[in-house]
């Protein structure tokens, strides 16, 4: 099975899955924190509307994890306030 790397740890995915789906399937429910309250955020709307699931993929920030299809070897970081 193909893998992406989330904050240093391998996460498997099926071809065609979004990065957000792969993380959720691996039990990772949140990957960033908000900039005022530091509250955890992951998938909410799942269809690109809410921007809760923002993530950095291969150095490119502010992508919606529910909209980006996982590719083998993607290096994925959540992290910081509104990363």
């Amino acid at each position: 099975m193909s893998q992406i790397v989330f904050e240093g740890r391998p996460v498997p995915f099926e071809p065609g899955q979004s990065i957000g789906a792969a993380l959720t399937a691996a039990g990772i429910r949140s990957w960033r924190t908000t900039r005022f309250g530091g509250r955890p955020r992951g998938l909410f709307c799942g269809i690109g509307v809410c921007f809760d699931c923002l993530i950095t993929v291969n150095g490119r920030p502010s992508l919606r994890a529910c909209m980006v299809e996982a590719r083998p070897g993607d290096v994925v970081q959540g992290g910081g306030p509104d990363a």
Partner: protein, 375 residues
């Protein structure tokens, strides 16, 4: 006293008049700060003004804003920030022009600190490396304009009636004795026209002409970012744009961060009436100019854009003071793109003139009847 208009200028008029002991009612057609105030950036600028009456008014206003911000909780409530403005020049000629302007501004009381090219990163680390130099203006400041209007209104304890439209003036002979609204008549000892871009319409209800026209501006808002830009930063060409009489699209980016993390990129100028349609050419120019100043912004996303209509007069000066053509009517409008900054002074001076005190500044240059009567 009745103030027509619940924007920042109307709010400042209400605040100072109430403080002078008057009973104030504010009439607003829409919602508080729903017009040009709600579409502004909140600039309190002295740096963009040539020496003259407007600069004097801006300096006087800057001091009033500082006083207001020091009052109980007000400064924090409307996000007053004395961040300072940095004007940058792309060329040696531009830098020389900045210095020439600064010499004259300093003579008028403006603090202006020349910044050589090598000093720019100390002010703004992300500025483009190939700029020729700049000028730092510590007196330039910022407020959140909607909050400023709302909190000044609250502090004034004035009665604020939103969703009420003025339809006419009450008269006693030539004297204005109140306003007629779609919710009934409101008699008043004085009526203040603080209707901003729509000030000409209100003046017309009293049978007088005040030539105010809209000058559209777009503002781009970026995604929220960790602090990237510390000051209000703009290109030297901005000053020329403000004073321009050209009708076509002009713009020069004014770039600044906000407490919420977004970056505002402002200042397109077009005379196209009240057309709210998004102008992509205007947004594209703002984006290009912002990237020119801060190359790192190229990869930052714009998430929002909005427009407003600056109220401008042919001579680019506001209209402030009693109208000799209609006793009982005073004006406080036509501040073009500087209404937030000039609001405090406007309210202060208007209250002085209402109470018969001698205004701290000569209102002559802002007289409502200074324009040639239209045929």
């Amino acid at each position: 006293m009745v103030v027509v208009g619940g924007g920042v200028v109307g709010a400042a008029c209400a605040y100072y008049a109430a403080r002078a002991g008057l009973t104030v009612t504010v009439i607003e057609r829409g919602a508080v700060a729903g017009g040009t105030t709600g579409a502004g950036e909140g600039n309190l600028l002295v740096s963009d003004k040539e020496p003259g009456p407007e600069l004097e008014l801006a300096l006087f206003s800057s001091a009033r804003w500082t006083e207001l911000a020091a009052e109980d909780g007000l400064g924090a409530a409307f996000e007053y920030e004395t961040k300072g403005g940095l004007v940058v020049a792309e060329t040696e000629e531009g830098a020389a022009g900045l210095e020439e302007l600064a010499v004259r501004q300093r003579a008028a009381g403006v603090d202006a600190v020349a910044v050589p090219a090598s000093g720019l990163p100390g002010y703004e680390p992300h500025l483009a490396p190939d700029l020729a130099g700049g000028m730092f203006y510590p007196q330039d400041a910022q407020v959140q304009p909607m909050l400023a209007a709302a909190h000044l209104l609250r502090a004034s304890k004035a009665e604020v009636r939103t969703g009420v439209t003025v339809t006419g003036m009450l008269r006693s002979g030539d004297r204005v004795t109140g306003v007629r609204t779609d919710r009934g008549d409101l008699p008043a000892g004085a009526v203040v026209n603080a209707a901003g871009t729509w000030g000409g319409e209100v003046a017309a209800l009293a049978g007088v002409t005040v030539p105010i026209l809209p000058r559209r501006g777009f503002i781009l808002v970026t995604e929220p970012l960790p602090s990237l830009i510390r000051h209000k930063v703009y290109a030297a060409e901005y000053v020329a744009d403000v004073a321009s009489d050209d009708e076509g699209l002009e713009s020069s980016a004014v770039v600044e961060g906000t407490p919420s993390g977004t970056i505002l990129i402002g200042a397109s100028r077009e005379r196209v009436g009240f057309d709210r349609t998004l102008s992509l050419p205007a947004l594209r120019r703002l984006a290009r100019q912002a990237i020119r100043l801060f190359p790192a912004l190229a990869d930052v996303a714009a998430i929002r854009a909005y427009c407003g209509f600056r109220p401008y007069c042919p001579d680019h000066l506001p209209v402030i003071g009693p109208d000799p053509r209609a006793e009982g009517l005073l004006h406080a409008c036509g501040h073009e793109g500087a209404g937030i900054g000039l609001a405090a002074a406007t309210g202060h001076l208007l209250a002085q003139s209402l109470t018969g005190a001698r205004p701290d500044l000569d209102l002559g240059p802002f007289r409502p009847d200074r324009f040639p009567e239209q045929p």
